[in-house]
Each structure stands twice: as C-alpha cells, then as structure tokens.
Amino acid sequence: MNPSDPDASRFRSTSTDGRGERDLDDLLIYVARGDQAAFEAVYDRLAGPVYGVVRRVLRDPSQSEEVAQEVLLEVWRTAARFDPAMGGAATWVMTIAHRRAIDGVRASTAAAEREQRNAEINIPRDEVAEAVEASLDRERVRRCLDGLTEIQRESITLAYYGGYSYRQVADLLKVTLGAIKTRIRDGLIRMRDCLGVS
C-alpha cells in the first residue's frame, strides 16, 4: 500500500456538504483493508473536527495535538471494528475523539486549573472563527443552540465542549441532578430536530 498512490485521487471528496457521510463510510471500509490512501482522505476530512473538539475540551494545544494524533491512529488501527449499523463514520470518529479528550480531562490532576475555566463557560464566538471551513455545520449548530433555553444550552455546551460530567454541570448551574439530566436530554432532542438528524 503506497501512500503516494497516484490512484489516491479516487478518494477525494466529491460531496459538497461538510461531512459527506456516505463517502466516509465507504472510505473506512478501504481503511479497514489497510489502504493508506483511503486513510489520507479520511484524515483530510476529519482531522479538523477531531483536533477542534479535542482542543475545545482540553484547551492545551500540545496536549490536544497529542490526543488528536492518538485518535486518528486509533481510527486506522480499529477501522475494522467500525459498524455502519451503529451510526455513520464521522459519528464513530467524533465519539472516539470526544471520549479520548474526556479521558484526558478526568485523568488530569490539575483540577484547580479547570476551576479557573468556570468563568468562560460559553462558547467564545471569536474562537469559532478560527474554524477550518466556514462550514454549514457551524452556522446550523450556532442557530440551533440559540434556539434552546439558556439552561439547556449551558448544560449541553458545558458537558460537550467543557468536558464536565452532568454532576459537575448540576453543581455549576445550581440545579438538581434530576433536572440537569432532563435539561440535557430535552436540549439534545431540540437540537436533533433543529439539525434535521434522522
């Protein structure tokens, strides 16, 4: 498998939306067979979101880079375990990425450091502007988040981008555990409908 395979162009994305789920699922099947050119195409599509979400959770650039590398290598290593019946390829990869980032947070003993971040719980809008693609996703997600109640939006962004557990979110927002579980779930249901996720 030659990484500079001239035939690699066959894997270039032809899809116009940011994610091209169908293509990615196919690419991963090739990756599972050891096709490095297919992996390069997967990398080019997913390295930005992987690095972005890990960085959002961990904040530290060098730790984020390290974790993002681990995630992408994990995708290569375990591509054969990807099961399209359980969701699309992008979702599979982002689930791995977020989980690894969370593992990094929970392993970190620098709890005090994290406390300082409590102040900056909302998504900094200018940071979003650094994004790779001025993607449809960014606008859609922003619009859908804006459609939530404040407590739904805060609990979802704290949990997903902030890497907090629902217990910590409940504590930060001064609501009960039962209430926070419901807010997160209700918020995600609204997001799902707003984003048009099937």
Partner: protein, 266 residues
C-alpha cells in the same frame, strides 16, 4: 440503590455527551441501552448532534500533524475485525485478587517470574505449557517460593512486601503469558513472562505503560532463558494505566509501533 426506569432513560443525553463520570453508573447505563432499543436509537441521534457540534468546533490542526500521523499509520498494525461467534465469552485475565502483603510474606514465590534462578521448575513448566493448562494454573504455578527470590533482590523484596499486592496475568494471543505483581501503593509493578514466541534477530519485546494521554516505555524484556524472562520492574504506574507489551525493532522505540500482544489494565 435502584434507579427507576424513567430516571434511567433520562440519562441518554448525558451518556451521549460522555458526561457520566462514574464508571459503575456508565456501565449500568450501557447495559440498559443494550437492552432498550428506543434508548439506543435516541443515543445514536444525540451522538449525531454531538458530531455536528464537533464539526462546528473544527480547527486547522498543526501542519506537522498530518505527516506524523501518516508516518505512525505506516508502521502500525491494524486490529482484525471481530468475528462474532457463539462461543463462551472470552476472559482475558484471571485474578488472584488482593493478595495481601501478609500472604506474600508467608512465602509464596513466583517461580515463573524467577525461572531463570529456578531451573529445577523448568521441566514442570514445560509440561504445563505442553498441556496447555489454564491461565489460572500457569499463574498459580508461578506463585511459589517467594522468599528465595526476594532474598536475591532488595527492590523486588520491597515491592512484594507492600500491602495489597495484586497478581494479574494475561495470556497473549500469539502464545505465552505475562504475570504481573502490582503494588499500587508504591506505584510499581513487576512483570515476567513465560512462553512468548521467540523473536527474529533485530526485534525486542518492549513494555509500555499506556495512560489515557501518554504512552511511556517501561523498558525491554530481557532475553528469554528457557522460555522465560527475568522480572522487570516498572515505576510511576498510575491508576487507569494499562500495561502493554509490543514487538519492536531493537533497541526499542520511543512509542509503540505495533499492536500490543499483552494489554492488561492495571
């Protein structure tokens, strides 16, 4: 404490966002989802929402990252697909839980660990392997004559004498097994192996402490003597680490380049 089903169901959101930090609670919910198709489909939908949020957070990765990942890919073996069978569930490790310092001090010895010094047990071990005994049997066989071994080495003696020493073992898919004595309070462990495949020239067995963020080399296994390797001590073991063993080009590498043949949570 039992959760009402309704309560349980409300966790789908937190679960999909990896926001359940207590392992027991997460595992319980995973089991629940496996038996609840409406929960599973809700979690799937929420994960797609999360995916959109990840794409919305996309950032240009550092430029050097691409070449580094592709280089790592070129030297990393992939795991095979999981072929599902109806065979009994595989148990990858056996435990002698919480072998206390007192028991250890009572004179239990790890004969496999110290096989290099215990040539007279070699015949027995070969017999054991030939009969393909259970991992528990191999492990039990290794747990012997501790006093002699600890007399030979102060560090080993100190580790073995620590409170709450645990003995773990794992059979390698490529043959052989590793036995680990874990002294959590000292953040140290002792590894020895038995019956690992002989390596071609220019290859070594390398140990790793695999943390959630970093993978750190824990040294090379010494050359095999009669199919066994002398004990290796690893320090700075932290909770949540896994002990990995890989085959690497001599004289070892900075990061693992192959799939571990032993991967044991410690």
């Amino acid at each position: 404490m039992r959760l009402l089903r309704q309560d349980m169901h409300a966790l789908t959101g937190a679960y999909a966002l990896d926001a359940i930090d207590r392992a027991a609670e997460r595992e319980r919910f995973t089991r629940h989802v496996n038996g609840c198709s409406s929960c599973a489909s809700e979690v799937r939908g929420f994960r797609e929402v999360a995916t959109a949020m990840a794409f919305a957070a996309a950032l240009e990765p550092p430029p050097a990252m691409r070449a580094e990942v592709l280089a790592a890919v070129a030297r990393t073996r992939q795991v095979p697909p999981e072929v599902r069978t109806h065979a009994r569930p595989r148990r990858s490790r056996a435990w002698v839980p919480w072998l206390s310092g007192a028991v250890a001090a009572a004179g239990i010895v790890i004969a496999v660990l110290f096989g290099f010094a215990q040539a007279h047990t070699q015949h027995e071990l070969n017999t054991a392997r030939a009969q393909d005994q259970s991992l528990a049997a191999i492990q039990a066989r290794t747990v012997r004559e501790l006093d002699q071994a600890r007399n030979q080495d102060q560090l080993l003696a100190a580790i073995m004498a620590a409170p709450h020493v645990r003995v773990l073992s794992q059979r390698s898919a490529s043959g052989g097994a590793a036995v680990v004595l874990l002294a959590s309070v000292r953040h140290q462990l002792i590894v020895a192996t038995s019956g690992l495949p002989r390596l071609p020239a220019g290859k070594v067995y390398q140990l790793w402490l695999i943390g959630p963020v970093k993978v750190v080399s824990a040294g090379l296994l010494p050359a095999q003597v009669s199919g066994q390797t002398a004990p290796v001590v690893a320090s700075d073991v932290t909770h949540g680490d896994r002990l990995g063993l890989t085959v690497e080009p001599a004289p070892g590498t900075r990061q693992p380049t192959t799939t571990p043949i032993i991967d044991l949570p410690v």
